[in-house]
Amino acid sequence: MNKGTYDAVVIGGGMSGLTAAITLCDAGKTVAVISKGDPVCCLSTGCVDILNSTDEPFDGISSLPFGHPYGLVEQDLIIEACEHFMETAARGSLPYAGSIHKNRHLITPIGMKKTTCLVPKTMEHANCDENEGIHIVSFRGLKDFFPSYIMLQYSNTGCSIFDASVSSTIGIAERFEDERFRETFADWLSRQHIPEGKIAIPAVLGIRSSFSIYKELSQRTGRTFFEIPTLPPSLPGIRLFKCMKQAFLARGGHLYWGSEIASVEKLGAIIEGVTLKNPGRVGRVQGRAFILASGSFISGGLFARMDSVQETVFGLPVYYPENRSGWFKDSFFSRGHQIEKAGVEVDSSFRPLADAPFKNLFICGSIMARSEVMKYGCGHGLAIATGYAAARSCEGFVR
């Protein structure tokens, strides 16, 4: 075995992949992450949904149908995984608030309520009841953010518009990173004579240092703020991803970004390495163990043909509802499309089931069969729990 062999190679740079990678790094393993692009996490609200179908997510997990991947993770391990995540995020100066025993509700840009569990501290005060005084501060020309919709839902609301001279969320967030802009903004805010109550602001408070910007703004104005997550490009999602990626790099992990897997080198039931598709020469990454966290359909981990579903990296056997006519419900927005159940079935050690084609391959995240992330509202939560648990199992294997 040569020196370039990693203890573990993680395929997929999303929440589950990075969680697994960070966990293994913390255990002193050498880890590489291969990702063909930025993950779906960047498009998310940055909040961690543990289980949205109930009020008490942690207790709700035990009542999930048999076969849901949450069931593979011991209860203690779920708590440990969430604590590990909170600690990682806090160390990356993106602290999170909340408890996995209680869900909370956020206001969305169209005034609806979104159920979630762990939220970035910039959204900590977003739990509002209908009569609470909220003042919305928006920005001139900002698309996909609708103060008037929110004002229809909440009776005691007002609104002010600030002209930041740019109209994209990213452009405004980059301005907030500049101290002089923050000063101007705070000055303007203090001249608005905003009545008592909380101040809601679209999630544009910086890209890299959101929490310190949030704190500074609260101190400067003496008010309680909270951010409202926006449609993509969604800053809280980007912050979460960058924070996790930086945490991985800081622990000495190696990234291979922008490369798809071209082929798999295997010896019997052992995967020895993968080659990376590059315009020039193919690259090679070798590992003692592999973790597949390539996500579901939207991330490209699964691919649906007319009559079957395929796993795209290793060609693993995939579980899917047999009859295509039963894959979808009539309405796009109704929850629980059967196709969501598609994925790779795993055993209690997170290795693929169905004759376990590979001994050193572990699976985590939304590629797992019957995860139904959209139906139960458990995307990041499942990613964190299974990523952590799969890493633990993998750690035992490479010890």
Binding site: N2, P39, S165, A250, G258, P279
Partner: protein, 404 residues
Amino acid sequence: MNLDFQHCIRCTICLENCPVFRVNSDFPGPKQSGPDSQRFRCDGETPVDHWITLCSQCRRCEIACPYGVNPAEIILREQLDYGKKHYRPLVSRLFSRVYYLGNLISLIAPVANRLVSVKIVRRLMAFTGISDYLKLPPYRFHAMKRSWRWKGSHKSKRKVAFFYGCYLNYNRPDIGRKIRDLFASAGFRVVLPGQVCCGLPALGNGDLAAARRLAGRNVSILEEYIDRGFDILYSCTSCGLMLTQCYPGILDMEGGKKIAENTYNIHEYLLKLMDEGLLNLIFESVTEKAAYHIPCHLKALGIGYPGAMLLERIPGLEITVMDDLCCGLAGTYGLRKKNQDTSYRLGIIAARALRDTGASYIITDCATCRLQLSQLSGMPARDPAEILFESLKGSVNMKRKKKL
């Protein structure tokens, strides 16, 4: 027409990664300039989107896109088409010939370096559209091309040809010679092949014909070396991107594939040899803290961060890897007056983030990143090869495990 843009699902991940979009609201971002607009473009039509030239071709959109769409390449093709059908300003014409200019300037280097600080010359430069916020790097007479062309034993079976690129050639031949000596002392036969500019400045300034001309000369020279059993090495990540991706890709050079398959980043190559057990580098320990800025084009090469991986093996060197920052200069992009503001603002953002790491200096592979970041952060910026060479002081520490 390439139809890859149809894979775009409009997720905006490219937009999130675009440095120019963050600070310049005139640029609509890679999604709109790339796949979105592509649907309305027809072959043979004169491009009218003048903002297309605001893209700096950092390729961060391409690396980030999870669906295999290549916004940067769509934009580059459009830029080239734009350059062909519109009047190209003097500054574009100058920068696409930066290799020939370098040739000239290095001949009169001592005089030229003084001339740049003369007011009237600076005025003249500003008049032609060259930005003035950066102090331009001095040129050297004793360029790489005027160095000893080979080093190491004739009998050595391990042979490498070093494509040093324009910057090391004219501005920092000292680093270039260190790299040459590093490989020579590891028992290689190192050759500095006759070479011209890789063609990236021409490509970036909308001159496809000039880029192909330069590429053609390089391909014929390098092909000959490959046939004789040489591996090609590069240290400049942008040159590397040209050699391995653009020659077989957008320039569609005959023999480009062969070049791409036999060309390595110097750090990637050293790591490969170490992993294969052919080379054992022993480093002196140091007590230093550095910030490793990953240049956009190193990320785009898709080879991981080999320089950082190598430097990690130096005991006591603590490095913070930062891969989300674009320095903004992007070769000749930020040296143009019209992009000066974008480049400066991005540079300040990156410089601040690097300073915040608490490091005492910046390490980065790309020469223009070093130019921009060192001047805007006030921290010294160094090439990873320099650090490697220093901690290997003398060839005494270098032991070969097996006979090469």
